[in-house]
Symmetry: C2
Amino acid sequence: MRARNLAVVLATIHRSGPHTRAALAERTGLTKTTVSSLVADLLEAGVVTESGAVRGGERGRPGVAVSLSGHRVAAMGLEINIDYLAACVVDLTRTVRLRRTRPADNRNSAPARILAELRDLVKETTAEAESAGLRVIGAALAVPGTVEGGVLRSAPHLGWRDVRVSGLVDVPFALDNEANLAALGELWFGSGANDFLYVSGEIGVGAGLVVEGDLFRGTFGLAGELGHVVVVPDGPDCRCGGRGCLEAYAGQDALLGELTSVRELVARLESGDPGAAQAVERAGHALGVALTSAVHLLDPGRIVLGGIFAPLFRWLAEPVSEELRARLGPMRGTPPALVVSGTGADAAVLGAAGLIIQRIIAEPAQLLGM
Amino acid sequence: MRARNLAVVLATIHRSGPHTRAALAERTGLTKTTVSSLVADLLEAGVVTESGAVRGGERGRPGVAVSLSGHRVAAMGLEINIDYLAACVVDLTRTVRLRRTRPADNRNSAPARILAELRDLVKETTAEAESAGLRVIGAALAVPGTVEGGVLRSAPHLGWRDVRVSGLVDVPFALDNEANLAALGELWFGSGANDFLYVSGEIGVGAGLVVEGDLFRGTFGLAGELGHVVVVPDGPDCRCGGRGCLEAYAGQDALLGELTSVRELVARLESGDPGAAQAVERAGHALGVALTSAVHLLDPGRIVLGGIFAPLFRWLAEPVSEELRARLGPMRGTPPALVVSGTGADAAVLGAAGLIIQRIIAEPAQLLGM
């Protein structure tokens, strides 16, 4: 019961901003004595802080306001990408306090080696967070593959299968798919929209659907695999074992061809290179076809292009929109708006940290050992 | 508060079967006096009934059991299909009490004429229900098109656009997409599974995803349009305005060709007609490709083939499974099981009635005017 009441008080402050104790009592229906005792515990745990006087909810009497504290408790986001490892630390107010990225070549790698490198990055980042007075009380890791029951089932680009990640951190830990976490990153750190399909362009292509602020995960947590939507039934073989998947047309390898980086591709596009323009247009049309199927099945509020699709948005938007208009227009009227992500390459690692912040707010007693 | 408590008591009986008043008090945390008064109202409204003695929850003392009543309150399901109008009456225990079907030719029809015919069917069915002692207190209508905000936006096979259905019944009324309601029909009147993608084969092809017993509706209620998933990007024009949609390969028109009915197609298949076998095999492969995309995006627990796909299941199952195994197998291991619907052609009309039953259970005070 006390655990539940702690969560109720914290959720109220999180949702509606600073409150006096009296206003908290009024809003939650708890007695003032109970609220005072809960707030004392939350202060002690470093979850909330007292700040300047605000008008209380009761008879307009000013009082000391209790608000979320950004000073002591924090969450760590981690990411294993094909080309890099990343870490970030986010405080309870969802302010990003640290970001660290290490270039790496993780293709067809040995899990143990990469996880050891990631452990180093965790130690370094934790130490930095501590020197800023922050205590990391949970961490989540984004991986470019399917996750089921806390196990990385299949990450074809890493060449990993059935990898159980443990011993990375000594705080509560979550493992999740990169596109899922990137969608949550966009939700919490991006445009502020509550209903969208986040499309994650990376070596692979993934997606995460957010409906009314909640991530849709499907039955086994495997929903949103946009990269393996069939674009051409007898198209080229895909690394997943299927054929003609979107990834074969719009994944990073298909987009880059002989080039070595997205930056190089953008430079070519800016200089009007016809080969580069053709590759992106081809990817855009394939993405438009796959998104037509996705809109029919998932019914998203809007479509957000993220990851490597963000810097390519200028060139991708037209072919994608053309397909959506032509294929969806007659039936749906206006197709969902197509917009560029506000979070860029950091979406997944931010979403990972945000997931832990969400859990702390939802279950403070459990995560803080109160 | 009383409305909420009525719902809590009714939900308990609905979920866990007959209860004594004492057991209801124990389970719900309400006082025995409150429970007795609520049960009196529910008895009066005909929602529950008293039956033989069962063991109470308290000290094993036997008492009179209160259970859902199938005798007085009922819901009506309605359906406008291309070839027929249908109605059914379902009582509170989800027993089907009446089914009526009228053959019709509703292609490119005038909404007013069809709705007048449906109104006749409603009157006839209501009268029959009344003569069986049942009071119909709500109705829902399944339509083969997209529904937004209570308006039928687009039903291309009927040739209807932006039709507002009103004055059909003088009880609370809901309008919903055929595939959504068929999925709910399968949930409540079919196999008993809680996680599946119901695929509705009709003139059009639709789908409804059920996850943990809840229908996934997307952002605007338009999710599950499997029939317009793109199978071949430059395939034939589809009635929706798109190209190469599943419906162009696996809708009823594509399956039947020159034939006039599914029954005729089945007879040809049974007699080994090579043209019929080829049409169904082609449809099956297209369905397998579209379902591959659907599994990647929606992550269903299993796939249930319903509507006209049910009598064709014997011939469809192999080509569909072949595509799913080849395309999904390497990434997912075993693809979702492919099974035949247990509800046949009645799925949508049963789901429509079931939807109203669900609302009565969830909000008895509102629907019963208590």
